[in-house]
């Protein structure tokens, strides 16, 4: 029988790193404070003691240096897992991400590939200072050559992380820190993977398809339960990967219901909601019975925390968004 532990999402990430470090000598974890300190969110706790400073590496404070040296390591066949402490600090490394991490395979016609996984805690809702709550997954999803994963449960966080580290291509792995410790789930000790690029249906329903991912999965399910009591049945699809999108699952859920709402905490303009809407327009227009709704963050810089609860889609805002689609 498989042994399991009851873990939070951040503990599952740690367990995933632990498992992959154990399974493959080419895996190294690197970044600021990931070593002795065990990471500011404890995502690398204890790994330094077990694997040593050559596998779990405290680097200088330099995001471009962290991503850029990981690019060089990965080009030589290692599987570096660089951590950026908060996704709001990825921008100093952005040039390395889009100019090199995403393009090395193409630029070298497949001679080099970068099996690297760039991790960062991301998203809002934890009363953090400025630049600690951004939700910019669309930047990375827009960049061909990258895969972009956003887990929403501990079990899947471990399995998706393992799949990312083993993937021959570079992955941006965004961890919704609002749910780092929000709940627990049984997570097997043994290695396993959850496939990148496949969505998961969290709730079945015939009235409206609601697409979401990451931390927004929980308020979306909450809204769906509330509406369920009023006889409105939502099909809730957790994308799990925002690039590549699971077009088939998205189209299928929409064809079943004829109505759709997308929920994400990223700003509305240019967000994944627009992309999902476009996919449905391209592939399932004749099934459409109502305008496709978007419940999203606003097109403003992420606010200081006194206002962040208004910024983030709440169950109430999500309910309203779903009702608009259903009552059209």
């Amino acid at each position: 029988m498989t042994e399991t532990q009851n873990l939070t999402l951040v503990q599952a990430v740690r367990d995933g790193l632990h498992t992959e470090l154990r399974e493959d000598d080419d895996v190294v974890v690197m970044g600021q404070d990931v070593g002795k300190n065990g990471g500011v969110f404890r995502a690398t706790e204890g790994l330094f003691d077990e694997f040593g400073g050559d596998r779990v590496i405290d680097t200088p404070l330099a995001e471009s240096g962290i991503v850029g040296t990981a690019v060089g390591m990965a080009a030589m066949g290692m599987r570096p897992v660089p951590e950026i402490q908060f996704s709001g600090f990825m921008y100093p490394g952005f040039d390395q991400i889009v100019s090199h991490m995403a393009r090395f395979r193409t630029r070298s016609r497949g001679q080099f590939t970068l099996p690297m996984t760039l991790r960062a805690p991301y998203g809002g809702g934890i009363r953090a200072p400025e630049h600690h709550s951004e939700s910019k997954e669309a930047f990375y999803a827009h960049e061909a050559g990258l895969k972009v994963v956003v887990p929403s449960t501990p079990y899947e966080a471990k399995g998706l992380l393992a799949a990312s580290i083993r993937d021959p291509d570079p992955v941006v792995f965004l961890e919704p820190k609002l749910i780092y410790r929000a709940f627990r789930e049984e997570v097997p000790d043994e290695p396993y993977t959850v496939p990148i690029g496949e969505a998961a249906t969290r709730r079945e329903g015939d009235d409206v398809a609601v697409f979401t991912y990451g931390a927004m999965t929980r308020p979306t399910l909450e809204a769906a339960e509330t509406l369920g009591q009023e006889g409105i049945e939502c099909e809730v699809v957790d994308l799990r990967t925002v690039s590549p999108l699971d077009r088939e699952a998205i189209v299928e859920a929409f064809e079943k219901t004829g109505r759709a709402v997308v929920v994400h905490e990223a700003p509305k303009t240019g967000g994944l909601g627009g992309e999902i809407t476009a996919i449905l327009q391209e592939e399932a227009l004749l099934h459409q019975e109502a305008p496709i709704g978007r419940v999203a963050g606003f097109d403003v810089p992420y606010p200081l925390y006194a206002l962040e609860d208004y910024y983030l889609p709440s169950a109430a805002r999500i309910e309203e968004g779903i009702l608009e689609a259903v009552e059209f």
Binding site: T59, T69, M73, M76, F104, R107, R109, A144, R247
Partner: protein, 367 residues
């Protein structure tokens, strides 16, 4: 005393501007010296032909190397086959010495992605266009080699302008911290497009920037191929030796001059004087080595003429080869973005391929 114990502005030289010996001549046999000379002549001739091809519309924008042959060939000649080269976009001569066929360089600048795909066993990274962005790659790649207990050395090329970029500092700093087997080779050619070396930094030399990272820094006359060879050899040996007492990384500043434009899209007469160019042309690295080899009785008129005709036919053959390459298959556009073609990319490819089949290439292609 090693070359690393000198003052940063105490430039290493072997040959003076007339090819007279003023330093320690490296231990190279006659054939190697002629080989080095031949490579410099190939690089110079190639460069002239490449600029001409661009002018004729047979090649895209091209960054000339003319004037920098001493630094490129001298440094690359010091590499072992197993060592890795991480170039910027101007190291056609260095890459040639390290085994990259001229055809590849031509293909890249003719817009074929395959130009960046070095043949198996040729340890050359793809051309890096964003300035200094390859510096952390070289550190990371060398770091990987060290972590795996291999003893390869890595040489990373960049220009004087790159030393102003954050990536230069981050990459060299990491190399210092993790003691990676990396040689940072700065081709200080005096001009970052139109902005002079003096506008990049208030530092008296670029070599002294090594001090800030606790690694060795040395300045060498970049138009003196033998001095460059000596310094690079010493830096590579130190990089490969895990038991060295000194830091394994080195920053080499090779002082030289770009005779021509930054790229074929640039007009240097706008920002620099002819007098300056002429002053530097008097230091031509090829003339300097040739003069030394003639004095030593290693080269004579006959041998020079032989080299000349071999060089011309070699470059002409490479151009023929590159120009005879067919346009890459349409699928190549999609093929290498991911290890496995995602369904959406497959769909996008099929859509484009169907349209091309329907309308023909003429509907797409300008020429």
């Amino acid at each position: 005393m090693t070359v690393f114990d000198r003052a940063y502005d105490d430039t290493v030289r072997v040959l003076d501007e007339d090819g007279e010996v003023v330093g320690d001549v490296p231990d190279l046999d006659d054939e190697s010296l002629v080989d080095m000379y031949r490579h410099m002549r190939v690089a110079r001739h190639f460069d002239g032909r490449a600029v001409s091809l661009q002018r004729q519309g047979r090649m895209g924008t091209y960054p000339p190397l003319c004037g920098q042959e001493g630094a490129q060939i001298g440094s690359a000649y010091a590499l072992d086959d197993d060592d890795w080269m991480v170039p910027s976009y101007r190291e056609h001569g260095a890459a040639l010495v390290h085994g990259l066929p001229l055809k590849q360089t031509l293909l890249y600048w003719m817009g074929h992605g395959d130009g960046n795909n070095a043949p198996p066993g040729v340890n050359v990274f793809p051309v890096a266009v964003p300035i200094a962005s390859q510096v952390p790659h070289a550190t990371g790649a060398a770091w990987a080699s060290k972590l795996r207990g291999e003893n390869d050395a890595f040489i990373c090329y960049f220009g004087d302008g790159a030393t102003s970029e954050g990536d230069f500092h981050e990459g060299v700093n990491f190399a210092g911290v993790f003691d990676t087997p990396t040689v940072f080779f700065c081709n200080n050619n005096q001009w970052a497009i139109s902005v002079p070396r003096e506008r990049q930094t208030r530092s008296a030399t670029l070599a002294q920037k090594a001090e800030a990272y606790g690694i060795d820094g040395v300045q060498v006359d970049g138009m003196d191929p033998l001095a460059v060879y000596s310094v690079t050899t010493a830096a590579l040996e130190k990089a490969r030796d895990p038991d060295t007492d000194r830091p394994r990384p080195t920053l080499i500043e090779a002082v030289q001059y770009r005779f021509g434009a930054h790229t074929t899209a640039d007009d240097p007469t706008v920002y620099r004087d002819d007098d300056e160019v002429e002053r530097w042309k008097a230091k031509d690295p090829i003339d300097r080595l040739e003069s030394y080899l003639r004095d030593e009785g290693i080269l004579d008129d006959e041998r020079v003429a032989e080299v000349e005709s071999a060089v011309e036919s070699r470059v002409a053959d490479a151009i023929d080869e590159a120009e005879s390459m067919a346009r890459p298959d349409l699928r190549e556009l999609f093929e290498h973005a991911y290890a496995e073609l995602p369904p959406e990319l497959e769909r996008q490819y099929e859509e484009l391929a169907a349209l091309r089949d329907d309308r023909g290439d003429a509907a797409f292609l300008e020429d």
